[in-house]
């Protein structure tokens, strides 16, 4: 007798017609987007959320949610979401991107949106290289890491050390911002971070930024064990996990 | 300098005529000579700039050299000759060249800051390009906010313009 297919539990804000999704086996995007989906459900904002995705693997999320979505040009998700938010502040705008979209071609926009305290929520998935284009070096590539454009390992003498984005955003933002770094190896924590990041926008306090440590076994050319080793043991040595900046609330040390 | 052009442009516009005024702007204006192109007409005006002018107004020694290129056989050239320009450097082919020592005279009789209005008066006197009453109205429109703070400025400007007209009549 044939066993009926069991559907895995999915957030309500996910679009079932586009599942199973197109991300590679072992890709962290699925976990990150699931955490985001639950956060959207928990906050009840599916009807006023606008989701923006960048170029790269994040673009595969263009039909992922039952949520209005705009896929933008590379690095431009932040300004498109900024434009929507400025025109219709009642919408909750989420900009979802990878290392390049936020730290390279989109760095200019990330920095300025943060400094202007734009009331949007930016989620950046860090898998230490550029996935869709075949695994080139990213600003987040670790020293010694082999990529398509650093075949002998990243040399910090030549290319500097990896970018610590949340620390930078925390340094250039004022008190209303929420900044955190999560990981797909801790999805419950990630979901909480997303909730707080979205709440920061809902309550009109300011810019919210969450970096998500994630995996790309396809370009890392790692097996399951090696993938988790890199994600859980290596990456957090350099990219510290946790909330880096939490907005002040009333009564917090006001003299 | 731009103030003079703006006032003449405004005066012509108030008279109901076509007026097109454009300053040089950008790099030349900062650190270079400030130049304004003004056209007044009863018909639509064809292009914002032109090759030869009917009237050239040069408010400084450097301006004389900068504006020589716009002088043709029909041009009336009015300049401030407080800083003497050697006669051979003045445009040779103009219809008329009129030097008004405006900086010197306003220093003595009025106030150095209205020397440009004096030159404008001279131009109006010689060419009748706009009516004096319309020029006064335009001065009021452009500078009225300054007069509100210091009413003496109004008299100063009007006097400078009239003096310029007198000087022009004498020079011709």
């Amino acid at each position: 007798m044939a066993m009926p297919l069991v559907q895995p539990p999915m957030p309500n804000s996910w679009r079932r017609e586009t599942k199973p999704h197109k991300f590679c086996p072992g890709c962290g995007h699925g976990i990150a987007l699931r955490a985001l989906g639950y956060a959207i459900d928990d906050l009840g904002i599916q009807d006023r959320l606008v989701f923006g995705c960048d170029i790269g693997c994040s673009l595969l999320a263009w039909d992922f949610f039952n949520v209005d979505t705009v896929q933008t040009h590379h690095g431009r998700t932040t300004p498109v979401m900024t434009g929507i938010k400025r025109a219709r502040p009642e919408l909750i705008c989420v900009a979802y991107m990878g290392d390049g979209g936020g730290y390279a071609i989109g760095a200019q926009h990330l920095v300025n949106a943060a400094v202007r305290n734009e009331k949007i929520t930016v989620i950046l998935v860090n898998n230490t290289q550029y996935g869709m284009t075949g695994g080139q070096m990213a600003p987040t590539t670790l020293p010694g890491q082999k990529t398509e454009t650093t075949p002998y390992g990243r040399d910090p003498e030549l290319t500097g050390m990896p970018m610590r984005g949340p620390e930078m955003v925390a340094a250039i933002t004022e008190d209303g911002a929420y900044v955190a770094r999560g990981t797909v190896s801790k999805p419950r924590q990630l979901r909480k971070m997303f909730i707080r990041a979205l709440q920061n926008q809902i309550e009109g306090r300011g810019f919210a930024f969450v970096e998500v440590l994630s995996t790309c076994p396809t370009n890392w050319r790692t097996n399951a064990e090696e993938t988790w080793q890199l994600l859980e043991a290596e990456m957090p040595k350099y990219f510290h996990i946790g909330e880096i900046k939490v907005p002040l609330v009333k009564g917090d040390g006001d003299d | 300098m731009q103030a003079v052009a703006e006032i003449l442009a405004e005066a012509a516009y108030e008279e109901g005529r076509q007026a097109l005024y454009i300053p040089n702007f950008g790099v030349e204006q900062r650190g270079g000579v400030s130049v304004a192109f003004l056209q007044i007409s009863d018909k639509p005006i064809g292009a914002p700039k032109f090759e030869k002018a009917d009237i050239v107004i040069a408010l400084s020694r450097r301006a004389v050299y900068r504006t020589r290129q716009y002088v043709g056989p029909d041009t009336i050239f009015v300049y401030d000759d407080s800083a003497t320009v050697p006669p051979e450097d003045l445009p040779q082919q103009a219809k008329k060249v009129i030097g008004i020592p405006a900086i010197e005279i306003t220093n003595r009789e009025l106030h150095p800051r209205v020397f440009n209005v004096m030159i404008m008066g001279a131009v109006i006197g010689v060419t009748k390009v706009v009516a004096p009453e319309d020029a006064k109205k335009a001065i009021e429109l452009r500078l009225g906010y300054k007069f509100a703070k210091d009413p003496k400025l109004r008299e100063l400007n009007y006097r400078a313009m009239e003096r310029g007209m007198e000087l022009a009549r004498a020079a011709v």
Binding site: V67, T82, I84, A87 | P44, P48
Partner: protein, 361 residues
């Protein structure tokens, strides 16, 4: 507290940049996103002064890329959004405009051409014709109005919003630094009071109802997986474009029925061309004048009709053949001689056009 919008009509004497700000207000634009670059800065200066009085939005972005992409955001949110730029900013602007072109988004962009290439001058040229008409990595499915007077700058900025929202192609108002900075008279008015319809905006995202429950989600993309998919989408856009091209195209002509020589020009140079032709015709010379008002779509049918009867066309522009190239494509197959009067980066006077015509006729 918002003031009443523009009422009645008023004769004014102002610079072109100020005209653009008033026209956007008259068109009921909601928000401007922009980045400073000479010679269009004053558009923002005037808009930021008017905006709070009329409950309008403004954001100064970090560069022109962001100005274009935030404008896209504004439009997708269902607001009449616009931006303005020039020169090197126009080059950057083509990045976002390509996205708008792909997704048929009604962005309005005002361009004040300056000398190029590169930093060039901050002053004037007609050297951004190719960039504005065909910039971006697409087929140039965008509308470009080339204005010549301040009255047109006012009228066509209003029209640009209508064209953009009616036909859903990115729409440009192509002017230049002379127009932006010069002062001349015009009448500003409330278009609704004059009986002009203003096409209302509508949102792409954030429509009422829960996506996937009350309505389908709005999923917008500009990337496809296979060639055939892209081709199908483009054929649809191209069909729309071809269907409305004649409706949108506009031109102006004088004395072309009997002319042996026709002077062809656009934008501010067309003023000089027109004045020159009027002068020559008054002397009885068989010279005509043709001016496309839309560079995209070009009024090809009208242009062809004129070119067929003429022996020579004098093509006058403040560039090195960018306008000429557009014409040549439309005129392919004809043997009419095209004589250039190309002056890249510099203005053209009626006297110059007259002199050249006399040499030719």
């Amino acid at each position: 507290m918002a003031d009443e919008p523009l009422t009645g009509e008023k004769r004014v004497f102002m610079t072109g940049n100020e005209v653009v700000a008033w026209a956007a207000l008259a068109a009921q634009a909601d928000i401007m996103y922009g980045y400073p670059i000479t010679p269009q800065n004053e558009v923002m200066h005037y808009w930021t002064r008017l905006a709070p009085k009329y409950n309008k939005g403004f954001l100064q972005t970090e560069d022109e890329l962001s100005a274009g992409f935030t404008t896209i955001g504004g439009v997708m949110a269902g607001k009449k959004a616009f931006t303005a730029t020039a020169g090197p900013g126009n080059i950057l602007m083509q990045e976002p405009v390509a996205m708008a072109e792909a997704m048929r988004l009604p962005v309005v962009v005002v361009i004040m051409q300056r000398g190029g290439p590169s930093t060039g001058t901050v002053i004037y040229s007609q050297q951004e014709v190719m960039l504005t008409a065909f910039g971006g990595n697409g087929e140039g499915l965008r509308v470009v109005y080339s204005t010549a007077t301040h009255q047109e700058l006012f009228d066509y900025t209003i029209k640009a919003f209508n064209t953009a929202w009616r036909y859903r192609f990115p729409t440009f108002v192509l002017a230049d630094g002379y127009q932006g900075k010069m002062r001349e008279p015009l009448t500003i008015y409330n278009p609704v009071e004059r009986g002009l319809e203003l096409v209302p905006p509508e949102p792409y995202v954030g429509r009422p109802g829960t996506p996937g429950v009350d309505r389908p989600p709005g999923h917008f993309r500009n990337t496809y997986n296979v060639e055939e998919e892209l081709n199908e989408v483009l054929r649809g856009h191209i069909a729309d474009w071809e269907r409305v091209a004649e409706e949108i195209a506009e031109h102006e002509a004088l004395g072309t029925e009997d002319a042996k020589l026709v002077v062809v020009a656009h934008g501010v140079v067309a003023r000089a061309a027109k004045e020159a032709v009027q002068e020559l015709r008054a002397e009885g010379l068989p010279v005509g004048y043709f001016r496309p008002i839309t560079l995209r779509p070009l009024p090809s049918a009208a242009l062809l009709a004129v070119a067929r009867q003429a022996e020579k066309l004098l093509v006058v522009e403040s560039a090195y053949g960018q306008f000429g190239r557009l014409l040549r494509e439309a005129l392919y197959g004809l043997t009419v001689e095209m004589v250039p009067l190309y002056k890249p980066g510099v203005g053209v006077t009626p006297e110059e056009v007259v002199a050249r015509c006399r040499e030719i006729v």
